[in-house]
Symmetry: C2
Subunit: 261 residues, 2 copies
DNA sequence: TCCTCTAGCTTGGAC
DNA sequence: GTCCAAGGTAGAGGA
């Protein structure tokens, strides 16, 4: 890792064009050749960067550039695309290099996968007596987070609602809604934070699942730690139920030893 | 900006829990107090970080920690949430600080807004003789990127297709499709890269717009620099046309002086 | 490899 | 402030 502190101007061209006026900044050159341009604020995201694989070429400034104070020019080119980053360095106040070796990597815990695991273990939150069919229930358009079986519905007529639903633009979910008393399964979509996208996703799953006479009618449940108002509205419109999850409470029920650390 | 190169272990707790084993890394402490932990590879994203506003507290290791080689402990706490980052430093091989000042900021060009501007100027790409009604055409659920008028359709019967379309789950768009010969307007959704989300978004707009007798029937066009295969499939299913945009070619037609640099 | 979805997303803009 | 959409999204995971 090479670290340079210098006054510089930066131009990026590629998927977009961007320009950074002359100012003091920190430049990082990683072992894989990638380059990061950081300012002294903002966030963890660099102002500009080049992702690997790429090559760094160091060159002398032109006479014009030298006259304007440029002492050296870095040209960073992506090897697979035509993205290019040009850094014009003026005063360099620091320049050091360090051997770091390969990082052993990050261990994570607590994301959506954990929510899914917890809700799978506490599936009664979806409905009394409900049992888990499986996590990541496969469909033609991707896996449903949880597929749940409703108790005491083995003999329910799967076609009971066929005559009532079909109608407007959201008829698929109207059908689900009007068949509420004879649901045999529940498809659960789990998000940390649910937006409209999650409702659309679940709607696609339900549309498909409700074509299967072995499953239909399938109720939809959107389960999340937080649900955006527009997502809740759209879900309600489509007869999808919303389930707010309390991560801490669910984790409290869970065996603490099952956590990574 | 303070830059430290040191062997360290890191623990983060907050929205998730994460742990970094002992290894050499680069630590950046920005003027706003934010902290970044970088390895010598990967991407521009740090392995761990703390966003401002936060506070950094430096403390001596406990006797146990000192025995294991820890020389100093950084505790970075978010001020608004209970996020916490604990960095246990062992050998410090570099430690320097630099005054950078406030960055003048990034100038950008070439994103979706520019695509929209270009297509508005070159609206005949949507269809021969088509004219622009307006950009950001307002609807109850948000603005449509471009609303376009089809030539010579003033007298076309808006209900001509009513008897043909209604059928399966996607009948709204089937209706749009079968009415192709009598469209009076075109709603254009513009993306740099179109995914299924874009199709869903345009579908919602079309469903709404086609209720308006002054506009209906409204054809849908998904215009993008690249279109994901599944998005194309879904769009085709729903009678939405796909239009691949060549940004460079469109920019060539455009006045080069209108670009930022 | 391509394609999808998640992310401690981040960030900007509208309301 | 909240909420939503875009990102040079990046990165993981599955087909």
């Amino acid at each position: 890792m090479r670290i340079v502190v210098a006054t510089c101007a930066v131009d990026y061209s590629g998927r977009l064009s961007a320009h950074l006026p002359l100012a003091p900044r920190v430049l990082m050159v990683k072992a894989d050749g990638s380059v990061l341009v950081h300012s002294d604020g903002g966030s963890y995201k660099p102002l500009n960067w080049m992702s690997p694989p790429c090559t760094l070429k160091v060159s002398e400034p032109t006479a014009d550039q030298a006259e304007q104070g440029v002492t050296v020019v870095w040209t960073v080119s992506a090897t697979k695309t035509d993205d290019k980053l040009v850094v014009s360095l003026h005063d360099v106040v620091h320049d050091s290099a360090h051997e770091l070796g390969v990082d052993p990597g990050l261990q994570k815990d607590g994301v959506e996968a954990h929510l899914q695991k917890l809700l799978a273990e506490q599936v009664e939150l979806v409905g009394t007596g409900h049992t888990l069919v499986r996590r990541e229930f496969p469909t033609a358009i991707g896996p449903v987070d949880l597929m749940v079986r409703v108790p005491g519905r083995a003999g329910a007529a799967s076609g009971a609602s066929a005559a009532t639903g079909v109608g407007g633009a959201v008829e698929v979910t109207v059908e689900v809604d009007t068949a509420a008393t004879s649901h045999r399964h529940v498809a659960v979509e789990i998000k940390r934070r649910a937006t409209i996208d999650a409702v659309e996703q679940l709607t696609r799953y339900l549309e498909l699942l409700n074509r299967d006479p072995h499953l239909a009618p399938v109720r939809g449940v959107l389960a999340a730690q937080s649900i955006a108002p527009q997502a809740r509205t759209l879900a309600t419109d489509r007869g999808i139920d919303c389930l707010l999850l309390d991560y801490d409470a669910m984790r409290g029920v869970d065996d603490p030893d099952s956590r990574l650390f």
